[in-house]
């Protein structure tokens, strides 16, 4: 019992710091979301009006929310899948494996600003790589002003984010794969399992905990996406690439609507919990 108490005592300093710099501001943010406030002077209590107005009257917010949800789906579908496949491929022994790992991880080390600028040049319809490639393939008719087209601008930005974002989950999966016992594969092979069976019946189940971490970090990153959008399109054209993070920043710092900015932050957290918590519960329940 004494040992147990001591254990908790060791946690106190960290908990105090955590409460002071995370929990308290979070609760204060929730509190602020119930007020109309420009950061100065009196706060006016408006109850849930900020939330109601965001969902019922604010078209930009609805676009931003939709974009974030699309981004999450795309991230889970493509970033996680491609990262897993790359990790499996790069986990096998072959010559130059380390070099390939470095190549695929390299974009992750670049800042979003660099990524944004590089990809904006790639999409440039006059001198960009993409349109040059289309011209080379005699597919000029497919050429458009990629980032100025509201229907596809978000997907164009996502491709840039995908290129950058694969490195980190790939590394997580690689780490997870190192922990899968080789005996499992050997035993399955003796039983006549083919490669697909090995992948679906051994690799995937053995990576369950890695999946939880990757899923959670990718979902959180998807909700926070801002920099790459800011650099490539600044939320445009016509708000088609607006995200909750950029809109929260605009409401808080440009329009000085701190109540609305805080409401957006709270909604972001809620959306993440709605997505992540059931997944974690489901994954751990199976165990």
């Amino acid at each position: 019992m004494k040992q147990k108490k001591t254990r908790y005592l060791f946690m106190v300093p960290a908990m105090v710091v955590y409460c002071a710099i995370v929990v308290a501001p979070t609760l204060y943010s929730l509190y602020l979301s119930l007020f109309k406030w420009n950061g100065l002077g009196e706060k006016t209590f408006v109850g849930l009006n900020n939330y109601v107005n965001l969902f019922t009257k604010d078209q930009v917010f609805r676009i931003a929310l939709k974009n974030n949800l699309i981004w999450i789906v795309l991230t889970i579908a493509f970033t996680m899948t491609i990262a897993l496949l790359l990790a499996v491929a790069l986990n096998r022994k072959f010559r130059g494996r380390v070099v390939y790992r470095a190549i695929f991880y390299f974009p992750y080390m670049l800042s979003w600003v660099v990524i944004g600028i590089v990809w904006r040049w790639i999409y440039n319809p006059n001198i960009g790589f993409l349109d040059e490639l289309l011209r080379l393939l005699h597919l000029e008719d497919l050429s458009i002003v990629w980032l100025s087209e509201p229907k596809i601008a978000l997907y164009c930005v996502f491709i840039a984010a995908l290129w950058q974002g694969i490195g980190q989950p790939m590394l997580y999966f690689l780490a997870g794969l190192q922990g899968v016992p080789k005996e499992l594969y050997e035993a399955a092979e003796v039983d006549g399992a083919n490669k697909a069976s090995l992948f679906f019946h051994i690799t995937i189940p053995q990576l369950k905990e890695t999946f939880i971490i990757v899923f959670a970090t990718l979902t959180i990153a998807s909700m926070k996406v801002y920099d790459v959008v800011y650099v490539m399109t600044n939320g445009g054209p016509v708000n088609s690439t607006q995200t909750l993070a950029s809109y929260m920043y605009a409401q808080t710092f440009s329009y000085t609507n701190l109540g609305i900015g805080s409401a957006i932050a709270s909604i972001m957290m809620l959306v993440m919990m709605v997505i992540i918590v059931p997944y974690v519960l489901y994954s751990t329940k199976e165990e």
């Binding site: 943010s29 950061g39 016509v238 329009y255 000085t256 701190l258 972001m268 957290m269």
Partner: protein
């Protein structure tokens, strides 16, 4: 197993709460990094003022937030100033444009504003006057003859409801820079009417040159000049002050229609909406575009990059009224600043724009709002701009005259008109809706 799940859940909640914490309006992101002072030689008297108190006699420390693009110049100026006045210490924090806007607002909410900070004239500076956070310099200016020291246009841009909200540092006009060599090649002369401008654009287009280059939201510079053309002085000013109705204004419809017509004709690059400042200007430097609406900073950029300055010149956009769009750059002072600190600050600004300092520091941002300061060689291409503003008058740039929330709608509408999803005649109604919404929330 349940315990493991609980631990995992708690860890995730902690991770997510980190994000929510970011939304708090009570953040204090005031990175007060300082420049160490060099306190050496004898104190000297100010160049051109006689302060009421003698701030050089006592130890005074001033905190100052200023943009990073001035760092190279101001590090030297401040070091030189502190060498001259060893009892005055200036603790400077350099920030990007976005950071200085955000951090001053955060500091305002927690009453931790520095003694003085850089700002743009218009709504950004007015915010601090409205809330009683910056010093009203009206009396100080009157007693120190600022009307003889600063350009009237700059003082006007620094005034909000009768209050002088800051010390004017620069008066920036936005004009059309053009490639003089390309104009010469096609026998073109700087246009003085809108029809002439269109004729110039048609000639350039026929010769495979993009007439005008600009980027993203900067397209508004062309639109606001067109608005001035169609609305005239009085209506344009009323629209900016939200005293006229955007939805019923014929000038608003016509100006958007003209912008759309120019876009469709190819007067701008196809990438105009998502272009960035540098790559837009590169089109001009490379000779594939011939004109751009820019501020005088373009002159120093041309010299800094060693382009042939003779290939460039400027003309005022033919707005019909002759007025040029302009804005001021200011230094605002904390409303709670002490007299002693204020005198020390003014001593600093006297030094900053003194003939001695201008001669010694060629990186000082130009054109200054101080009367009688000659432009350095790197700003030779901006020569005559201040005189043109002085002779013909100016109108405030829209993004510094209207509230950010309205400007956000304006930019969206502008993009929608360019893309064809909003008809030019419907554009005014969208902007007016944002104006009405803003006024209703006041």
């Amino acid at each position: 197993m349940k315990k493991n799940a609980l631990c995992l859940m708690l860890a995730l909640v902690m991770l997510m709460s980190l994000l929510a914490g970011c939304g708090s309006g009570n953040q204090q992101n005031n990175d007060n990094s300082t420049t160490p002072p060099a306190q050496t030689s004898e104190p000297a008297a100010p160049d051109n003022t006689e302060p009421a108190a003698d701030p050089a006699a006592n130890e005074v420390t001033l905190t100052f937030w200023t943009p990073t693009w001035r760092q190279a110049a101001e590090e030297v100026i401040i070091a030189d100033f502190m060498e001259k006045y060893p009892n005055i210490k200036i603790e400077t924090t350099y920030m990007s444009s976005d950071d200085i806007k955000a951090n001053t607002k955060i500091a305002a909410s927690s009453n931790t504003l520095p003694d003085m900070w850089y700002n743009w004239g218009g709504v950004l500076a007015d915010f601090y006057a409205k809330n009683g956070l910056c010093l009203d310099l009206t009396d100080y200016a009157a007693s120190h003859n600022w009307s003889d020291r600063f350009l009237s246009g700059a003082l006007e841009q620094a005034t909000y409801e009768g209050q002088l909200v800051g010390l004017p540092q620069n008066l920036i006009g936005i004009v059309m820079f053009y490639r003089a060599d390309i104009f010469k090649q096609y026998n073109l002369t700087p246009p003085t009417t809108l029809e002439e401008l269109e004729a110039v654009c048609d000639t350039l287009l026929a010769n495979g040159i993009t007439p005008m280059t600009t980027y993203g939201n900067a397209l508004m510079r062309t639109h606001e000049a067109l608005l001035e053309y169609y609305a005239g002085e009085e209506e344009h000013d009323k629209l900016l002050l939200m005293e006229a109705d955007w939805s019923t204004s014929e000038a608003v419809s016509k100006s958007f229609a003209k912008l759309k017509e120019w876009i469709d004709k190819g007067y701008f690059p196809a990438t105009v909406l998502t272009e960035d400042s540098n790559s837009a200007k590169m089109l001009m430097y490379s000779g594939s575009a011939a004109m751009t609406m820019e501020n005088p900073g373009m002159s120093s950029e041309i010299y800094a990059n060693e382009y042939n300055a003779e290939d460039y010149a400027w003309f005022a956009f033919p707005s019909g009224t002759g007025r040029i769009s302009a804005y001021a750059k200011l230094c605002q002072f904390n409303a709670n600043i002490t007299d002693e600190k204020l005198e020390a600050a003014m001593l600093f600004w006297d030094y900053y724009y003194s003939a001695e300092s201008i001669a010694a520091h060629d990186l000082i941002e130009q054109p200054t709002a101080t009367i009688g300061v000659e432009l350095p060689e790197t700003y030779a291409l901006a020569d005559g701009m201040l005189e043109a503003i002085s002779d013909n008058g100016s109108f405030a740039v829209m993004d510094l005259k209207m509230e950010p929330v309205i400007m956000s709608q304006y930019f969206t509408t502008c993009e929608a008109v360019v893309l064809g999803s909003t008809a030019p005649e419907a554009a005014g109604a969208e902007i007016q809706a944002a104006v009405d919404n803003f006024l209703a929330n006041q």
